[in-house]
């Protein structure tokens, strides 16, 4: 596949305020793994949290029955944005990793570049469900191990082994609070997605 060099693309519109091409990136991972922080670090707009109130019907847990079940669940969805020249906008969405929210993921994942799966090396298992989700749907993803103070440092190889991801999936260490590292994770994802699109 041929790629047009970026400098041959004429500026489409002087007014970058108008979106012409929009892209999505998902930020996934278990609870408390740093999704909100990562979205906030990368986003040019203030880290936004949109509260999504979901009814039982939309969560799809009706089959569980039970009289005392909750009627609504509120779930916070992180949302960030990066604006590039030529009306290109990149949107980041971080939503809860629990399986019962996957109906949200399916919709957001459609047409997405891919996902950054954040992991906490002290609780790797909490990110397994997210990894499975993207593997099953063949959505490009990278794994970023978020650094937590007091966590034993593991090497990328150790993390890769523990997660048992395919060899071509990039695994990297990250500090979700650090702008350059967070952006590095985005670069790794876009590179990986481009690789995947060539196959």
């Amino acid at each position: 596949m041929n790629f047009a060099a970026s400098d041959t693309v004429p500026p489409r519109d002087a007014d970058d305020d108008i979106p012409l091409h929009t892209l999505k990136v998902l930020v996934a991972g278990g609870f408390g793994v740093g999704k909100t922080t990562l979205v906030g670090t990368v986003s040019e707009v203030h880290p936004l949290r949109t509260e999504e109130t979901l009814t039982d019907a939309s969560v799809g847990v009706d089959d569980l029955g039970g009289v005392e079940r909750k009627t609504t669940t509120t779930v916070a969805m992180d949302f960030g944005r990066l604006t590039f020249s030529g009306g290109v906008r990149l949107y980041l969405f971080g939503t809860p990793g629990q399986e019962r929210f996957w109906f949200m993921w399916d919709q957001i994942a459609y047409g997405a570049i891919g996902a950054i799966v954040l992991v906490d090396t002290r609780r790797l298992t909490t990110s397994f469900a997210s990894i499975d989700f993207f593997e099953q749907r063949q959505i490009p993803f990278i794994v970023a191990a978020n650094r937590f103070d007091g966590a034993r440092p593991y090497s990328v190889e150790q993390i890769r082994d523990a997660l048992d991801v395919d060899p071509e999936v990039p695994v990297m260490l990250c500090d979700a609070r650090d702008r350059d590292m967070a952006r590095g994770a985005l670069v790794a994802l876009v590179e990986h997605a481009l690789q995947a699109s060539k196959v």
Partner: protein, 124 residues
């Protein structure tokens, strides 16, 4: 502008009107869901006599005077994504807004756009 029933009681309490009251109880959109990053723009048509638009519908329609995405609209309007998606699907059905042409109807983004993004990300 704000009516008392929509006043916020406290930051943590949330709006007094439950989010899905705005959609009149609907939790699903009519027709296919509007993608959160679809680019929407007002068609300029005027709503027919039989079309009833809520305050939120009218607010979103006005915002679509400039091409906008549901994600941006939700954050501007301070409404949950799903609520905005349902209201926008209504407006689309009424012929008041439409998706602007974008070659992103495929499941994967255009590699040429990805290359541009990559260049800019590295330069940041």
């Amino acid at each position: 502008m704000e009516t008392p029933r929509e006043r916020w009681i406290g930051r943590d309490a949330g709006p007094v009107v439950r989010p899905y009251a705005v959609t009149r109880g609907r939790t699903r959109a009519r027709g296919p869901a509007v993608d959160l990053v679809a680019i929407l723009v007002a068609t300029g048509r005027t709503p027919g006599d039989r079309v009833w638009l809520s305050r939120e519908h009218r607010m979103l329609l006005q915002m679509c005077g400039r091409p906008s995405t549901p994600a941006d609209l939700a954050s501007k309007a301070d409404l949950p994504f799903r609520v905005v998606q349902i209201l926008l699907a209504d407006l689309r059905e009424y012929g008041l807004i439409e998706e602007s042409d974008q070659d992103r109807q495929s499941e994967r983004p255009d590699p040429r756009i990805l290359m541009r993004v990559l260049d800019e990300l590295r330069r940041l």
